[in-house]
Symmetry: C2
Subunit: 104 residues, 2 copies
DNA sequence: GCTTCACATCAACTTTATTTGATATGACCA
DNA sequence: TGGTCATATCAAATAAAGTTGATGTGAAGC
């Protein structure tokens, strides 16, 4: 079974690797097909494929098949989801802030 | 030397691990000292210390020394920085969208 | 100064992620 | 149908991250 934390971690895994950040950066200027990314970046075909899978699994990138080519672009809904998730995870809740600390 | 991508990746590394997401979740209800986190979570002392270092390095968590105790809490500025960074990294730029793709 | 406590750091180990080359798949074209 | 191209998947190797127990450090109390 997959925990909610594992699920959330997957979203941010996309952003934890230098190569993937470079891919994302390149996609900012528009949709790119895999062959373009391979020739522009210092990466092999299977390596790119691996990273694209991680990116697509995070929801931040979406892919589109066109014949034998695969095109990748940033997903607007994926971005929105990630941003909202990040905010939610890191925003304090207004619970009874009972400081049950050993040291106070 | 450290690249800008490595720097950015560090921010999101905080959110890529289940244990760290659990720590962040616990900090949402307020500042906690290390000893409390250790007794609440299934984690050893050195393990917690390791994760707290990653979290503090990301800027999302900040620590405060008080005698021999260390208190941790979510950093508002760290959160804001991470959110803005995430938005920036994943938002398309309005460059001349020249699709120099091999396949079109 | 000595001891204790809370935490950080280290080193060895285990686990997970990434890379790389080889092979499989599926679309397209002759 | 057979060949080629683009990409995915696999398996082996390497690298990076996380875990664990032992040791170091600095604050506080005696």
């Amino acid at each position: 079974m997959e925990t909610i934390h594992q699920n959330n971690a997957r979203v941010f895994k996309a952003l934890c690797d230098e190569k993937r950040l470079e891919i994302i950066e390149r996609l900012r200027s528009g949709e790119k097909c895999a062959c373009v990314l391979i020739e522009q970046m210092n990466i092999g075909q299977s390596g790119l494929s691996y990273h694209m899978k991680v990116l697509c699994d995070s929801g931040i990138v979406q892919s589109r098949q066109e014949g034998k080519w695969t095109h990748y672009k940033l997903s607007e809904s994926g971005r929105d989801y990630a941003v909202e998730l990040l905010k939610e995870l890191t925003t304090p809740v207004a619970e009874a802030e009972t400081q049950d600390c050993c040291c106070n």
